[in-house]
């Protein structure tokens, strides 16, 4: 099973990129299963099921962060895709909190960014970009060639080892190299590990403490004038 995990801010064109990839993979007799992980609303699964007749699923992360949810369900999802007779599992995730990344060793990690999103975006998305294998830049026809090139260099400055692929997801231009990368990637093994180091600390808010002020919290905390420090055992 080839595993592809695709992350990126909302509305950058993840779905449009994956649609072209699913079509081109099908044309090569490689059937994809599609899993969408989102916080509260998604319909990509239904669209793809209708359009390509492939097995699809969605998971609302709800109480969990999407990346956390991804870790929980990915093992099951690989077995599901296999049972459905697919050769590729594509996971699309919103990857929202930007402290960790959804990618795993054993799967191709793709981040989708739009060329129109401003020159500082690459600096803001953290490990979602720096731990990816490929950064796909969409909406390239909406900016000048010069801006496209400067955007590319802003990505390269933060994430020098990430390959950059510019695509026009409207017309499917530039998708072939992405398909080739999926095909060339080794099959996902048994014991998958999250890529990179998750952020340290337990989120006291996630466990239900609502009091404002670091004095009421424990673990990694921070005050306005101090860097983070550790409080507690």
């Amino acid at each position: 099973m080839k595993l592809l995990i695709c992350a990126g801010p909302a509305t950058t064109g993840k779905t449009a990129v994956l649609r072209h990839m699913i079509r081109k993979l099908l044309a090569k007799n490689l059937r994809s299963a599609f899993l969408k992980i989102d916080v509260q609303y998604a319909e990509e699964d239904e669209i793809f099921a209708r359009e390509f007749g492939i097995p699809t699923k969605k998971v609302y992360s709800g109480e969990l962060c999407p990346d956390h949810c991804n870790v929980m369900v990915l093992g099951d999802a690989l077995r599901w895709a296999d049972a459905e007779g697919c050769q590729v599992l594509m996971v699309e995730t919103a990857g929202l909190c930007l402290r960790c990344s959804p990618y795993v060793d054993g799967g191709l990690g793709i981040v989708v960014l739009e060329a129109t999103s401003g020159m500082n975006l690459p600096l803001k998305v953290g490990p979602m970009l720096s731990l990816a294998d490929i950064a796909v830049v969409t909406k390239i026809d909406r900016v000048s060639q010069a801006e496209r090139e400067v955007f590319r260099s802003r990505i390269q400055d933060v994430a020098p080892q990430v390959r950059i692929r510019e695509v026009n997801a409207l017309y499917g231009i530039g998708i072939d190299p992405l398909v080739a990368s999926v095909e060339a990637f080794p099959d996902a093994g048994e014991n998958l590990l999250l890529r990179g180091n998750p952020p340290v600390g337990t989120c006291t808010i996630c466990v239900g403490k609502k009091e404002i002020g670091w004095q009421a919290h424990f673990g990694v905390v921070r005050a306005l004038e101090n860097q983070v420090f550790y409080r507690g055992e």
Binding site: T116, G118, M119, N120, D141, R142, V143, S144, Q145, A146, E147, E149, V150, F151, R152, S153, R154, I164, E166, Y171, G172, I173, G174, I175, D176
Partner: protein, 261 residues
């Protein structure tokens, strides 16, 4: 060294092959692409800039020196032999002009460059094309349509300084068009103009005719058109002079038309 660039044609919007099988652009050629709005002019130069390999919606292929271009042309701006001046009249980049240009100069060059020098030269060039000088510390997003176009042309010429330059309707958006042509033609490159402007079309060695996404024909300038070209340029200069007079609140006289009409 780039000597030629070739388009192996594909199909139009409604299918159907194009009017010619291939077009070879040779170093030094000045070419126009003409056709009504929506006929696929921008799509054609985008195909060239993307080094189309049969996978774009037109099915066209682009060769450099008769060969498929190496991947690095696309992946490394320092190796890209093409500068494209798009139809955009606004920038979306939230950077100051000087920082943007310095970054672009750095990545477009294969060796360390005098960034500040290039930025200065680029701004000097741009300011010859626009009535409203560009302030280096202003944000890219604040530039007017004319300033944006002027900066795109200057950036392509000074910073990219590539052997192939593609220009999409430079005549629009308030720049000194005649001055731009004059400055550009000092360089020996392949120039491909998408244009509705008779003056630019007639200054070209040949022009590509487009209709419904298809290249229908390639027309070479003949002697009669070359004669027309001189007259058309005079007419165009006349109109420019008159336009300026009107803009500055002056009156026109019938004498101004003499010798031209």
């Amino acid at each position: 060294m780039i000597e030629s660039i070739t388009i192996l044609t594909g199909h139009g919007k409604k299918g159907g092959t194009e009017g010619v099988e291939r077009i070879d652009f040779k170093m030094g050629d000045v070419v126009s692409i003409v056709g009504p709005t929506g006929s696929g002019k921008t799509t054609l130069i985008n195909d060239i800039e993307l080094f189309a390999d049969g996978t774009t919606p037109t099915g066209r292929r682009v060769l450099i020196n008769g060969m498929p271009p190496p991947a690095e042309y696309r992946d490394n701006p320092a190796c890209n032999p093409i500068a494209l001046i798009t139809q955009h009249t606004t920038f979306l980049s939230d950077l100051p002009v000087n920082e943007f240009l310095r970054t672009h100069a750095r990545i477009r060059s294969q060796s360390p460059v005098d960034g500040d020098g290039l930025v200065r030269q680029t701004l000097d060039f741009a300011n010859q094309l626009t009535g409203e000088p560009i302030i280096p510390t202003s944000q890219m997003t604040e530039l007017s349509g004319g300033q944006t176009r002027a900066l795109l042309i200057a950036d392509a010429t000074i910073i990219c300084n590539t052997p192939i330059v593609l220009l999409d309707e430079v005549e629009n958006a308030g720049i000194h068009r005649t001055r731009a042509l004059e400055l550009l033609r000092r360089y020996r490159k392949i120039f491909i103009f998408v244009t509705h402007d008779p003056r630019i079309a007639l200054l070209s060695d040949y022009r590509i005719i487009m209709q419904q996404g298809r290249i229908t024909d390639v027309l070479y300038a003949n002697d009669e058109e070359r004669e027309c070209s001189v007259k058309v340029s005079q007419l165009d200069d006349l109109l420019t002079r008159m336009r300026d007079k009107l803009r500055f609140g002056e009156r026109l006289t019938i004498e101004e038309l003499e010798g031209v009409l």
